[in-house]
């Protein structure tokens, strides 16, 4: 040994610091097995290897597990009666092997179903059924299926082996020349003519399913298999979708179960697009993104990427990529003819390339033609002249025709129930309602995380949500940011404990121009303990703009926080509260900031902390409000000396009427705000808090009386 052994401290430094480059250390390691072993040990290589043996082994090794052993030296195992020579590839659903058929010496490819899928009886049965149907197909451009080994476990398909590779391999090197694209397109179109004619839809046309033999043949493989596995074919080995371009049609992306033959035409279009430009037309970082992209966005026009592409081919590909199946070429035969004649299939409408919001802008002209039948001339004139009202007019017509009240702005569909609209909406969509008595559906308003939405009354409507049940859990459970505008919540309760109306969890809520009314069916039975109208659990922000609350005995907002550093901001603007406390707590957040501007509070308390006070800070900023509070404005169940440092109060321009003082703590009552701000409280005024005087006239009337004390 030339140099002394390396000590652990040095080895650790070498491991930790990537920039450390010590040639003498490296030279020693080359010679000294002991130090190499030491370094390995310190890096944890043994544990690492033990843990990850399975993951670190290649796909091939894992796949080999299903082969039976063999004594034949040229083979790596047997599968059924076939002698397996070599592993070719593994995808999401299957592994492909090179094998030799018994008796003859013909080389075949065995496509073996993934064991995990094979054990699921209905998948297995479907696989076998689809494969057996595909066996009937005979066409020079369809890879024939020689055998379907249904009884083997796992089942597998036997196909002739095609030497050469797939279109996927070829595309690694970039886009193809136009003649090549035409050749491939023509061959696949012909294959589809045969398949569709036999009633078989491929469903999974992609470059790896298009084989290019070394003798120049183009063969389409894997018919019908995709149906058996839904999305499993989209998986990579480890389950990630990331960055994998796909060729599925919009209807497949939308999860449609019944697919027509034209879904294959779309996929063909996507493949040809990639052949021309070198990149797939749609991609996304997650399945959701990809699905959205496929359904709504238009791919970059081919001529921008590859201007040498013949115009007829570009038009044909665009035609194949139409979002609606009805807008694509009628059949594979038409596509084949287009390839043979090297001509496109007619005038193309750019609107067909788009979906969703983008489609609106393009489609109105086209829509008009269809709608002529339904609308009178006067309406059409209105449409053309009234630019800003155009979209809402269209929505109105659609709602009127369908009888559904809900729609998502910018999209075609209408919905009868709010549940359906929410289900169909994408994050940040705006759902509008054109009805005064909308139906919400059984579930009320349920918003899962990850789907922020706006729900708004359409212009000219004042939807009233009727809430009769006694003691139900919240009408609306909102776990994503939610904006609601223009609604009336009319809660007439019977039982002793009516529940919360909206509960927002971990998300923000904004209500604009909403009215909440809660009253007992029998005025004698005003309940003693009423839940708040709105509850927020760990909600970062609750904002109420131009809202009115008429709910004697019910607090408006209840705040709950489970977190030790919870923060909530409550903002009230131009709102009116008549009835219970503005706030109460269940478990207040540690940091609470309350802002009120231009509001009128005629309530029992403003801030009523029943069990605890905000642990870190309460900041209040009140500007230009009218506050009449029958009980103390702020109630805090702690001693004053604890409350004082935590409460910061800022106010200007408010009118205060506090018959019972400003602050009530566990041990004292503060009659005015002098400790906190320079504001003054007016002389004590008797203000009867009279539940019987609750206005009972019709709720649709605006301008309910506001009780101002006489000066």
């Amino acid at each position: 040994m030339n140099t002394p052994h390396l000590d652990d401290a040095l080895l650790q430094r070498v491991l930790r610091d990537d920039t450390l480059h010590l040639p003498e250390v490296e030279a020693h390691l080359e010679q000294c097995a002991e130090c190499r072993a030491r370094l390995e040990h310190l890096s944890g290589a043994d544990e690492f290897r033990a843990e990850f043996e399975a993951s670190v082994e290649s796909e091939e090794q894992t796949a080999r597990a299903i082969l039976q052993p063999t004594s034949d030296p040229g083979c790596i195992g047997t599968l059924g009666k076939y002698a397996v020579r070599q592993w070719i590839a593994t995808g999401g659903t299957s592994t492909v092997w090179l094998a030799v058929a018994p008796g003859s010496d013909s080389i075949v490819a065995l496509k073996v179903l993934q064991p995990l899928l094979a054990i699921q009886k209905d998948h297995r049965a479907r696989f076998v059924r689809e494969a057996q149907a595909a066996m009937r197909l005979k066409d020079p451009h369809i890879l024939p299926l020689l055998e379907v080994e249904a009884n083997h476990s796992p089942p597998f398909l036997v196909m002739p082996f095609v030497d050469g590779g797939t279109l996927q391999d070829k595309l690694q090197a970039g886009p193809l020349p136009a003649e090549e694209v035409v050749r491939i397109g023509r061959a696949v179109a012909q294959a589809l003519v045969a398949a569709h004619g036999a009633g078989i839809i491929h469903r999974d046309i992609k470059p790896s399913n298009i084989l290019l033999s070394s003798s120049g043949e183009v063969l389409l493989a894997d018919f019908g298999i995709a149906r058996a596995f839904d999305g499993a074919t989209l998986l990579t080995q480890t389950g990630s979708f990331l960055g994998t371009p796909q060729y599925m049609s919009p209807e497949q992306a939308a999860g449609e179960r019944e697919l027509g033959a034209r879904t294959d035409l779309f996929s063909l279009g996507a493949v040809l697009y990639q052949c021309c430009t070198g990149t797939a037309p749609f991609s996304g970082m997650s399945f959701q993104e990809l699905a959205r992209s496929v359904q709504e966005s238009a791919p970059v026009p081919i001529k921008q990427v590859q201007p040498t592409t013949p115009l007829w081919l570009e038009n044909l590909i665009s035609h194949l990529l139409a979002k609606q199946p009805a807008d694509r070429p009628a059949s594979a035969a038409d596509v084949l003819r287009a390839f043979e004649q090297q001509a496109d299939l007619g005038r193309l409408d750019a609107g067909q390339m788009l979906g969703g919001a983008a489609k609106w802008r393009m489609m109105t002209a086209r829509w008009l033609r269809r709608a002529v039948v339904l609308m009178t001339l006067a309406m059409i004139v209105l449409l053309w002249t009234e630019r800003t009202g155009r979209t809402s007019f269209v929505n109105a017509a659609l709602c009127g025709l369908s009888g559904n009240a809900y729609y998502i702005t910018g999209k075609w569909q209408t919905f009868g129930l709010l549940d359906e609209a929410i289900q169909a909406a994408a994050p940040n969509d705006v759902i509008e309602v054109r009805a005064n008595d909308p139906a919400t559906g059984r579930g009320g308003i349920k918003l899962r995380p990850g789907k922020p939405l706006t729900l708004r009354a359409a212009a000219g409507f004042r939807p009233v949500l009727p809430l009769q049940a006694a003691g139900f859990p919240a009408l609306g459970v909102l776990e994503s940011n939610f904006i609601m505008e223009g609604f009336v919540f009319n809660h007439v309760y019977r039982g002793p404990r009516p529940g919360r109306l909206l509960h927002v969890k971990g998300a923000s809520l904004k209500l604009v121009n909403c009215r909440f009314v809660r009253q007992p069916r029998n005025p004698e039975t005003l309940a003693n303990t009423l839940s708040a109208l709105i509850a927020g659990t760990d909600s970062p922000r609750i904002e109420l703009v131009r809202c009115q609350f008429y709910a004697p005995g019910s607090p408006v907002i209840a705040l709950i926080s489970e977190q030790p550093e919870g923060r909530t901001e409550v903002v009230l603007k131009d709102s009116h509260v008549w009835g219970g406390a503005v706030f109460c707590d269940v478990k207040p957040p540690a940091h609470l900031a309350v802002t009120a501007t231009g509001c009128e509070f005629s309530s029992s308390h403003v801030l009523h902390f029943k069990q605890a006070f905000p642990a870190k800070q309460l900041t209040a900023d009140f500007q230009s409000n009218l506050i009449q509070s029958v009980g103390a404005a702020v109630v805090a169940p702690w001693p004053l000396e604890k409350v004082r440092p935590l409460m910061e109060w800022k106010g200007a321009g408010n009118e205060w009427y506090l018959p019972d003082g400003f602050l009530l703590t566990q041990d004292t009552r503060q009659p005015d705000l002098t400790s906190w701000s320079h504001e003054t409280v007016s002389d004590r005024l008797a203000m009867p808090f009279d539940a019987q005087a609750f206005p009972t006239q019709s709720l649709s009337e605006e301008g309910l009386p506001i009780r101002r004390p006489k000066k």
Binding site: V14, L15, R16, D18, P23, V25, E26, A27, H28, L29, E30, R36, L39, E40, H41, L42, S43, G44, A45, E47, F48, R49, E51, F52, A54, S55, V56, S58, Q114, L116, L117, I119, Q120, K121, D122, H123, D230, G231, A232, L234, L235, Q237, T238, G239, S240, F241, L242, G255, F287, Q288, R448, P449, G450, G506, D538, E562, Q563, E565, G566
Partner: protein
């Protein structure tokens, strides 16, 4: 300063709502694993995301409420149980022709081999660690690791292929192994402590 000891693991970090990055990381790590599992057990494509979200929700709620007890078994085992039960629940609620009765459901649940899950889980961990470590190191260093650790080639062979000294190959390989183990430990804090 030992990074393993001072860094809080991902599982702990997702307890604090302020640490938004932790949640994103957590989901990024486990979502592909869950998705593959759910998909390969026959849940149709349009329902896969929902089921995965449900699993994630159960997991994070339990962690936040301290219901997951690291003393009683590894996170990997526990996640398997949660995932399997959600898939069973889905099957029960969406009885298709093959899931028509309880017996079939039980059979299917029994067929679930923990070993299969373990393999997938580790595979995902390895992939995830790769995603994090690979971009931070030089191409050559990474290749030295991959060729020796994964492709099982000998030190001198790799040294010749990459134009590095044999000693440098060993150093590179050990460094990456240490990084990968750190990355994984930072996620679960389990079983991958330094010797």
């Amino acid at each position: 300063m030992d990074p393993l000891l001072t860094r809080r693991t991902l599982l702990l970090r997702i307890r604090t709502p302020d640490d938004g990055g932790a949640w994103t990381e957590f989901v990024g790590l486990y979502e592909p694993l869950l998705r593959k599992y759910v998909l390969l057990r026959g849940v149709p494509l349009q329902d896969v995301e929902d089921v995965v979200q449900e699993v994630l929700k159960t997991v994070t709620q339990a962690i936040r409420k301290f219901e997951y007890d690291p003393e009683r078994g590894t996170f990997r085992d526990w996640l398997f149980i949660v995932c399997r039960s959600h898939v069973t629940k889905y099957r029960r609620q969406n009885r298709t022709e093959s899931f028509a009765n309880e017996k079939v459901l039980e059979e299917l649940a029994a067929e679930e081999k923990q070993a299969d899950w373990d393999v997938e889980y580790r595979r995902r961990m390895f992939e995830w660690a790769t995603e994090r470590v690979r971009p931070l190191v030089q191409e050559k260093t990474w290749n030295a690791f991959w060729l020796t650790a994964v492709d099982d080639k000998s030190g001198p062979e790799v040294a010749a292929t990459l134009g590095m000294s044999v000693g440098a190959v060993h150093v590179a390989r050990s460094r990456i192994i240490a990084r990968m183990r750190e990355a994984i430990a930072s996620a679960t804090g389990e079983a991958y402590e330094q010797p």
